[in-house]
């Protein structure tokens, strides 16, 4: 009884941590540009797929992980330079379609280059799980928790202690005023895409030993990360983390106790209820309309 529950909590928090990273990616890009980046899930997939590619081709694991995070970050920068910057300030719908177009390009290239198969990498510290009160805790879950925590702490440090981070926050708050104080807002936009892609890729690398990955794994991950970001209140960093963990927990427990066939529907049912009753998410600011 308790063991089963604990098992659901463990698996829920593990995927929840990845949703949190995806949601943080949505938040970063949204704050810098008001773009909802539907390609966010593709960076998670790209991280996992590249890690698998490098490790299986004999690259030292540490180097493979670094490359699997750096390359998606470069893809993020490329995406911002080629597709987002030329249409800065366009309608929401236009921006959504551009990011969807980019996600198709990334997914398509991965499909052609690496095939349609499922890929995985070995867990970072062996296959022997830890037993707690009858439940099993895979050591890889600890890596996911630890990795997510480190990423969140680094982001917090970056935004609250460094000049670059503060420049990004200022731009999120008021773009024109930031530009007037000499902040290079184009640089901020580029950085936000690079960071978002990198933390998505971190999530992908960390979770691939548990969930495996394939060229189309990014779609659902991206959409559920979006649910997490909206649940936490779009634009709120702590909200994204809380939202991600909550979506993971609720999905895992509801799938376990109610219906595993409807596992993928649960985050979306949840978000509809939340939006119907709390239209600004859990931690979001109240929206005001300019007339």
């Amino acid at each position: 009884m308790l063991a089963t529950f604990l098992q659901f909590v463990i698996s829920g928090l593990t995927v929840g941590a990845v949703y949190a990273l995806v949601a943080l990616g949505f938040t970063l890009v949204y704050n810098a540009s008001h773009v909802i980046n539907f390609a966010q899930g593709e960076f998670v997939m790209l991280g996992g797929m590249l890690a698998a590619l490098f490790i299986h081709s004999g690259t030292p694991p540490a180097l493979a992980v670094v490359l699997a995070i750096l390359i998606p970050a470069l893809v993020g920068i490329l995406m911002e330079k080629v597709a987002i910057e030329p249409i800065k300030g366009a309608d929401t719908i236009t921006l959504i379609i551009v990011t969807l177009g980019v996600s198709l390009i990334v997914r398509g290239i991965v499909q052609v280059a690496l095939g349609k198969g499922t890929h995985t990498i070995p867990p970072f510290s062996g296959n022997e799980p830890i037993r707690i009160l009858g439940a099993t805790l895979p050591t890889q879950s600890l890596w996911v928790f630890g990795g997510t925590a480190v990423a969140v702490l680094l982001l917090w440090y970056f935004f609250s202690k460094t000049i670059s981070g503060k420049a990004m926050l200022a731009t999120a708050y008021n773009q024109v005023a930031s530009q007037l104080t000499g902040i290079n807002t184009n640089w901020v936009l580029m950085m936000s895409f690079a960071l978002a892609a990198a933390i998505g890729a971190i999530g992908g690398v960390l979770v691939t030993p548990i969930t495996m990955t394939s060229f189309d794994a990014g779609i659902m991950l991206g959409l559920k990360g979006f649910v997490a970001a909206v649940l936490g209140g779009m634009g709120s960093g702590p909200g994204a983390v809380v939202g991600g963990l909550l979506v993971g927990l609720i999905e895992a427990t509801a799938a376990g106790y109610i219906s595993s066939a409807y596992k993928d529907a649960i985050p979306f049912i949840l978000i509809l209820f939340i939006l119907f009753f709390m239209p600004n998410g859990l931690l979001g600011k109240k929206a005001t309309d300019r007339i």
């Binding site: 909802i36 249409i87 719908i93 551009v98 390009i105 409807y262 993928d264 939006l275």
Partner: protein, 312 residues
């Protein structure tokens, strides 16, 4: 907004093209493609009224198409209902569902609205995939032919003339709607909801009516797709299909009736044209989407219309 591009002259042109097209198509493959283009055009017309005139985004419209399609497939199959009745019950059910969620969903704005419509579409898709005893699950199910007063509708020729007529009626109805007090109210609320409200427009009700209407359009066309193809799978209601429909609206031209038709024709043809690229079709489709948004952000039809206007 695009008043000049929304005149009745275009309707005559389209009707003319629809009449002569079948005589120029080399084989039934192209007739089948033409039918799919026309069906998509009708769905996109409804979606464009919602997006372009009421200013409400929908990322889950394929869900409504799926509901119509499976009503037409499952009700005659499991309950023995006449297909025509199933089609209308499907449309009514979809309309009711849209009406039930319209209140809370259309109160939302921007990305929250995008999230809610996306969620609704995905939930419908997952239900259709999971309830395999009624829908055949991911593999789908066969659809009985459509019978109208004892006559069986079959053959691509017949279907072509039916959907072509429906398209002309839909265009005519859309043009009338846009030029009516209702259409003007919609445009007012697109400009500024609060200003429209102050001017006495019942914003909530108007948005809900157009949402329900576009959902019913989608459902009916889902039914027709199901009967035309004769077999249906839940992928008709999935997220990529919703995005395809949305893309047709934007590529053709938001708030342009003829843009809807052009967008539907172009993007229905595109995957066929890319089929020879062996694996690269997804990449090519993505590149075309991105370049369209960068180079013709207003959509093909309004951009061409503007050029034309400047030339004079």
């Amino acid at each position: 907004m695009n008043h000049r591009t929304n005149s009745y002259a275009g309707l005559l042109l389209i009707a003319g093209i629809l009449v002569i097209t079948p005589f120029f198509l080399p084989n039934s493959y192209y007739l089948d493609l033409a039918i799919r283009m026309v069906i998509n055009a009708i769905i996109v017309l409804g979606l464009n009224l919602l997006i372009g005139y009421a200013g409400q985004i929908s990322l889950g419209h394929a869900g409504f198409v799926g509901l119509g399609a499976f009503a037409s497939a499952a009700l005659p199959h499991h309950l023995g209902w006449p297909p025509l009745l199933a089609m209308f019950i499907g449309a009514a059910g979809t309309g009711l569902l849209a009406a039930a969620v319209a209140g809370p969903i259309l109160r939302l704005k921007g990305h929250y609205l995008a999230m809610a419509t996306l969620g609704l579409g995905i939930i419908i898709n997952i239900v259709l995939r999971n309830e395999s005893q009624y829908t055949g699950g991911p593999d789908g199910m066969p659809v009985m032919p459509l019978t109208v007063f004892g006559f069986e509708v079959s053959g691509d020729q017949t279907w072509y003339w039916i959907v072509a007529t429906l398209l002309c009626i839909s265009i005519w109805a859309s043009l009338n709607l846009i030029d009516s007090p209702f259409g003007r109210a919609l445009r007012a609320l697109h400009g500024s909801e609060i200003a429209a409200q102050v001017a006495g427009v019942k914003v909530e009700r108007y948005k809900a009516v157009i949402f329900v209407m576009s959902a019913v359009f989608a459902s009916l066309m889902g039914s027709i797709t199901a009967h035309h193809i004769g077999f249906i799978t839940p992928s008709i209601s999935d997220f990529p299909h919703s995005i395809e429909l949305l893309t047709m609206v934007v590529v053709g031209g938001v708030a342009s009736v003829y843009g809807s038709v052009v967008g539907a024709v172009l993007l229905t043809a595109l995957p066929q044209a890319l089929a020879n690229f062996e694996g690269w079709e997804t990449v090519a489709y993505g590149c075309i989407l991105v370049s369209c948004m960068i180079f013709v952000p207003k959509g093909v039809v309004p951009t061409i219309a503007n050029r034309f206007k400047k030339g004079h």
